[in-house]
Amino acid sequence: MKAAISQGRSATPATRRGLRPTTLVAIATLVVLAALPLFAKSYALTSYRDVLLLAVFALSLDIFWGRTGILSFGHATFFGLGAYGMAVVAIHFEIDPAWVSLAGLLFGVGLAAAVATLVGYFILYGGVRGAYFTIVTLALTLIAHHVAVGWSDVTGGDSGLIGVPPITLFGYAFIGSTESYYLALAVLTVALFGSMRLLHGRLGLVLAAIRDSETKARTLGYRTDRTLLLTFVASASLAALAGAVYAAGTGFVAPDFIALLLSTEVIIWVAVGGSGTLIGPVIGTAIVWKLQQEISSISIAAWPIALGSFFILLVLVFPQGLPAYLLKKVRALRSGKGAAP
C-alpha cells in the first residue's frame, strides 16, 4: 500500500505557507487532552494515560511507514524492548531510586536503538525493501517474543516482571494518576511536534522522494540506505520510549508487550487514523482502543476476528486509509447536493 493520504500534497500555496490542517488538528487535540483531567475520574485517567503512550507508539510507526511506505511488522519488538529494558533495570539492578527511571529509560531506548540499527543495517543495506522488509520484521517480533518467554531468569518468562516503579525524574516522582497522565501527555506533545517539525521539512521531502523512486533519489546523490536506516532507528527509539514509560505506568511487563498481536494492532491504529498524517494515528489509537473495549466485552475471540476483518476491509474497501475514504464520501455527498437542481 502506498502510504495513504498525506496532507499538503493537494494543498494550495496559501495553506502550505501557513499552518497545515493537520497541525491545527494536532493543537486542538492536545488542548482537549490537556483539559481532560478536569472532567475524568482518577481511575479512568490511568487508562487514558496508557492510551496516550500507545498513541506515541502509533506515531513512531507512522514516522517510518507513513513516510517511507515501508511497513514494519516488528514495531512491538521495539515497544517491548523499551518496556523490558525499563523493567529489567528497575528490578535486577540496585540503582539509586532517584536515578533508576532515567537509567531504565536510557537502557530501554538504547537497547531498541541498537537492535534497530543492527537489523536495519543488515536488511536495509542489503537492499531488502517492501514486502520482504515487512516479513523480516514480522519474524523479528516472533524472535523477540520467544526470547521474552524463554529467557525467564531475566524476563520472568510467561508471567513477566512485576514491580516497575513509577517514573522519577530529578527527584520528582510521577506517582499519582494525574501526574503520570500529564507526563504521558508531555511525551506525546514533544514527540508529535518534534516529528512534525522534522518531517514537514526537508527530511520529509527526501523520504517522500525515496518512497516514490529510490533509484532516482540515489542518482540525485542521496544516501538512501542511510536515510532509511536513521529514520527506522529514530522510529524504533520512539517506540521504545513509549514502551518504557508505559511499563513504569502500569508497574509490570508481560510477553504481550512484545507480541505479534501488538505489532498488528499498531498497524490498525495508524491505518484508521490515516498513515502519513502523524496526528491521525494518535486519534486512531483512541478510536480503536475504545472499539476494542466494546468488542472484547462480547467475547475474547471477537477482537482478533474484528482485527482480521478490518485488515481485509482496509485493503478492499478503503486502501487509501479510513480518513481519506470518509473525506471522499463527504466530498461526493456535497458535490452531489451542489449538482442537484
Partner: protein
C-alpha cells in the same frame, strides 16, 4: 599539464558484459570541460548501458572511469552524483507525489536559493506548474522537469538519455536551444535518436555500434563516414 587540459571525464578500456553478451566493448573516450557531446547508434548499441556505467548504476566489468583526476568506477551511484554527475533517465523519472517545485528542491542542495530554483523553472518552462503534482504533468513536461532536476544539482557533467523522446517539434527545438546555452559551462553527453536534432546541435558525436565506438568527431564528418552509413544512417 594545466587543470584546463585535464578532461572532466575519461573512460579507459571500459567493458561491460551481461553473461555472454558484451554490451559495452573497450570504450576509451575523454570529454572536455563545457563540451557538448552526442551519442548515437542503433537500438541495443549499448548507449544507455554506457551512461549506467558512468553514473554507477551498473559496475564496469573491466576498464576505468576517471572524473577529473579521481577514479569513480566502483563508487556507489549516490557518491558519483555528489561529485557532480547528473543523470536524466530514458523513461522520465520524477517523484510523482511531490509538486514540481518540491522535485527541484529535493534535487538541489539544501542551501540552493529560491532565485536559483526560479531560474531553473524558467529555463524548463515550468513557471506556471510549480505547485502541480508531478504525476499530473504531461509526458513532455516530465522530461523537462527531470532535466530541471539534473540542472538543480549544478553538475559538472550532465548525462541525458533521449531528452526529446515524446516531445513536440517546438519543444525539441527549445531543448536544442538550451543545450547549446549550456555549452562552455557544463559537460553534456546526450543520447539521441533524432538525427535532425543532433545535426542542429552540431556537437561532437560518438557512434556506438554493438558496444563499440566506431566513429567520433563532428557530426558533419560522421554523416559522410561510410562505416557509419552502413550500420546506422544507411538504414533510413
Amino acid at each position: 599539464m594545466t587543470p584546463a587540459d585535464i578532461p572532466v571525464l575519461a573512460l579507459d578500456g571500459v567493458c561491460r558484459n551481461f553473461g555472454a553478451l558484451r554490451a559495452v566493448k573497450d570504450v576509451t573516450e575523454s570529454f572536455q570541460p563545457g563540451e557538448l557531446n552526442c551519442i548515437i547508434g542503433p537500438n541495443g548499441a549499448g548507449k544507455s548501458t554506457l551512461l549506467d556505467l558512468i553514473c554507477g548504476t551498473l559496475p564496469v566489468t573491466s576498464g576505468s572511469i576517471a572524473f577529473g583526476e579521481e577514479a569513480i568506477h566502483g563508487l556507489p551511484g549516490d557518491r558519483i552524483a555528489r561529485l557532480g554527475i547528473a543523470r536524466k533517465f530514458q523513461v522520465p523519472t520524477v517523484f510523482e507525489s511531490l509538486s514540481v517545485l518540491e522535485n527541484l528542491q529535493v534535487a538541489a542542495a539544501p542551501a540552493a536559493s529560491a532565485t536559483e530554483l526560479e531560474r531553473i523553472l524558467g529555463t524548463t518552462h515550468l513557471l506556471d506548474d510549480r505547485e502541480v503534482e508531478a504525476s499530473a504533468l504531461p509526458h513532455g513536461k516530465k522530461q523537462w522537469l527531470e532535466i530541471g532536476m539534473a540542472l538543480a544539482m549544478q553538475p559538472r557533467v550532465l548525462l541525458l538519455d533521449e531528452p526529446t523522446a515524446g516531445l513536440s517539434v517546438d519543444e525539441t527545438r527549445d531543448t536544442a536551444q538550451f543545450l547549446s546555452e549550456l555549452r562552455g559551462s557544463v559537460t553534456v553527453i546526450v543520447i539521441e535518436h533524432d538525427m535532425a536534432f543532433v545535426r542542429d546541435l552540431a556537437a561532437r558525436t560518438l557512434v556506438l555500434h554493438l558496444g563499440e565506438v566506431i566513429a567520433s568527431g563532428d557530426f558533419a564528418d560522421i554523416e559522410t563516414n561510410d562505416l557509419v552509413r552502413d550500420v546506422y544512417l544507411g538504414r533510413k
